[in-house]
């Protein structure tokens, strides 16, 4: 039998065909439809819809809050992953499962619960509000729920890498006279950077699109706590499909550029870690 197929696994064209097919059905066609719809607007209409003062304030808030939340998750998520991998303690499995809960819970519920906790007569709010910390109906509230929805992405990307990371390297580092901080900075973190950047990107992207939880805790005040997805819904209520999609396109383009940038960063860090 002549071996014409030089690939190890057969069925390359089949699997590629399906990959392209599914990606198209699930991702490319809906997004293309978005762009086509937005293209039905004239340039002035498009610009008028996406670049008002109010829209700019909303983009800043959406991307700003998502970025801050992702940064918090970067630290918090890595820490949780570390604890889960390196230590044994009673109830570890429960804690491990808890991490995934934000994925399973409808985010609207998360938003409602956070808002109820942080208002001035809520369990947590009754202590914080007298100190001048407004957790509900503020930008802080938005960051809080975004940390909540983004957490699993961070933990679950870092965890497997840490599991594969051999404690012996740390021991070796210590036996060569490195301090704990040096070991952390020069041995552990470099190995984690690519995973952390991926987790960051996932958490960030998730936050940019988040709607359900944020509307319940943000208070939706224009220029202050109004996120961009709210603008989309507002335009839809006016049956202005074109304008609504135009804002969506702007969000997509910015997110996509940021994700590509993060991807490049990840590649760069992977090369430099090696």
């Amino acid at each position: 039998m002549a071996n014409v197929n030089r690939r190890v696994l057969p069925g390359f064209s089949l699997t590629l065909g399906y990959t392209v097919f599914y990606l198209s059905v699930l991702v490319i066609i809906p997004i293309a439809a978005c762009f086509i719809r937005a293209a039905s607007l004239s340039f002035d209409e498009f610009w008028g819809a996406v670049w008002t003062e109010r829209a700019r304030a909303a983009y800043m808030l959406t991307f700003g809050a998502s970025f801050i939340a992702a940064v918090i998750n970067l630290v918090l998520g890595a820490l949780i992953a570390w604890v889960l991998v390196r230590y044994d303690f009673p109830g570890k499995r429960v804690v491990d499962s808890l991490v995934d809960l934000p994925l399973a819970l409808p985010t609207a519920v998360g938003g409602l619960v956070y808002a109820a906790l942080y208002v001035k007569n809520g369990w947590i709010g009754q202590f914080l509000v007298p100190l001048g910390i407004q957790g509900a109906y503020s930008r802080l509230g938005i960051v809080l729920v975004l940390v909540f929805v983004g957490l699993p992405f961070m933990v679950r990307t870092v965890q497997p890498v840490l599991e594969d990371f051999d404690p012996e390297s740390e021991e070796a580092s210590a036996s060569l006279g490195a301090s704990r901080l040096q070991t952390l900075r020069h041995v552990i973190l470099p190995a984690l950077y690519p995973a952390m950047i991926t987790g960051f990107a996932l958490a960030f992207a998730r936050s940019v699109g988040e709607y359900g939880s944020v509307v319940f805790i943000s208070g939706n005040m224009p220029f202050k706590t109004e996120i961009a997805p709210i603008l989309i819904v507002a335009r839809l209520e006016e049956f202005a499909y074109g304008e609504a999609t135009a804002i969506a396109v702007v969000l997509l383009v910015i997110s996509f550029s940021l994700l590509i940038f993060i991807n490049l960063l990840e590649n760069w860090s992977r090369r430099h870690a090696a």
Binding site: N5, P10, L16, F21, A33, P222, I230, L236, E237, F239
Partner: protein
């Protein structure tokens, strides 16, 4: 990387040349299917419009009434219990009269979200939405004949409603009229007019309370600007606002639908009171038959009987029981204790019509936007 022998093992388990070819082709097939899907997706919007004239010609009314028929009533959120009661009574009376067994499905959600679903192909036989804007949007797409408002009695309004105040027990801030809402220290809860019917009707009410009592346009702008400064949270919908006011106990006054306010006060068991301002908007939740859909499904007769039924005495009683203001004068009078008489003004007294009011006050660049413009 892997030795060739493994490659051979895989191959011998799997393909002969023929199957390999099939595998190759299925990749193509997948791509082909994808192409067709793409075309289909692009055309869908137009084809929805194109089917309309064809559909109305397609199904002539059957001579004998069918044994059973199914209706879909697409409505907005708070009407769930109202229509459940109405359906039950209608089904019984319709079967007795015609021998046809009707089943009625209900769909509820935010009013304009529901309108969009119908536009996008949800096969509603009748729509009973919160506002003219939503029904008119469906009509504009050709699914409901123009002039639909004149097809049923009282401009297709079997019931109306209004916006009233809900306050904390004993009305501690002494809120009686719209002017009291802008007193220092009063916090007002109302949803975002941009995303909620409850929201823009509250806005229209507030506006009308100024201009219909001798105020100028400038006075009205000043009033609503101050009013919305005293709104700490702009929820996206009526339900969210209710939660904010009742559960989270934020705010002193909640501007609510009359029927929702009654339920809210009843549920609160004494913690909340209702206050009727002397003047408020007349909210007009029109009902309409979705012509394109009933003609295609052959359900017109049942759909018409269904909506006409809501005007009967029996139905008007049910309407009143659920705190909607019946359009039948006699029934309204009989329930005068439930519905205090206040001046209800239609939207046409503050603008040309509904779309005009929305454009002037709520839409992009309208009065509402100017309220929040940061000062330079």
């Amino acid at each position: 990387m892997l030795p060739n022998s493994i490659d051979l093992v895989y191959l011998s388990q799997h393909p002969t040349r023929a199957t390999e070819a099939v595998l190759k082709r299925s990749g193509f097939i997948a791509l082909l299917t994808l192409g067709t899907l793409g075309l289909f997706g692009c055309n869908q919007a137009e084809s929805a419009e194109r089917t309309k004239p064809a559909a109305s010609a397609a199904e002539p009314q059957a001579a004998a009434p069918p044994k059973s028929v199914e209706l879909l009533n697409v409505s907005y959120d708070p009407t769930r219990e109202l229509w459940r009661d109405l359906n039950e009574k209608f089904i019984a009376s319709y079967e007795k009269e015609t021998g046809t067994k009707v089943t009625i499905k209900q769909s509820h959600g935010g009013s304009s979200t529901q309108a969009r679903s119908v536009i996008d192909g949800l096969e509603a036989d009748v729509v009973t939405l919160a506002s003219f804007l939503d029904t008119e949007a469906i009509s504009k797409k050709g699914l409901i004949q123009p002039g639909w408002m004149e097809e049923l009695p009282n401009r297709s309004l079997p019931y109306t409603s209004t916006i009233v105040f809900v306050v904390r027990k004993g009305n501690p801030k002494n809120v009686k009229d719209w002017t009291d809402l802008v007193k220092p220290g009063v916090e007002v809860i109302t949803p975002n007019p941009k995303t909620s019917g409850n929201g823009y009707l509250s806005f229209f009410s507030a506006w009308g309370s100024v201009v219909l009592r001798g105020g100028s346009r400038d006075d009205a702008v000043k009033y609503v600007t101050q009013l919305y400064k005293q709104v700490p949270v702009l929820d996206s919908g009526a339900r969210g606002a209710t939660t904010t006011f009742v559960q989270k106990k934020i705010g002193d006054v909640h501007l609510a639908w009359e029927n929702e306010a009654r339920l809210e006060v009843r549920e609160a068991k004494g913690d909340l009171d209702i206050v009727y301002p002397p003047i408020s908007i007349r909210a007009e939740p029109h009902v309409a038959i979705v012509d394109a859909n009933v003609d295609r499904k052959g359900s017109r007769a049942a759909a018409e009987a269904y909506l006409k039924y809501v005007y009967t005495n029996e139905a008007q009683q049910i309407v009143a029981k659920h705190f909607y203001r019946p359009s039948d004068e006699a029934t309204l009078k009989a329930n005068a204790a439930t519905f205090p008489e206040i001046k209800l003004f239609p939207v046409t007294e503050i603008a040309k019509d509904f779309p005009d009011a929305h454009k002037q006050f709520i839409a992009e660049g309208g009065v509402f936007d100017s309220i929040y413009k940061p000062k330079k």
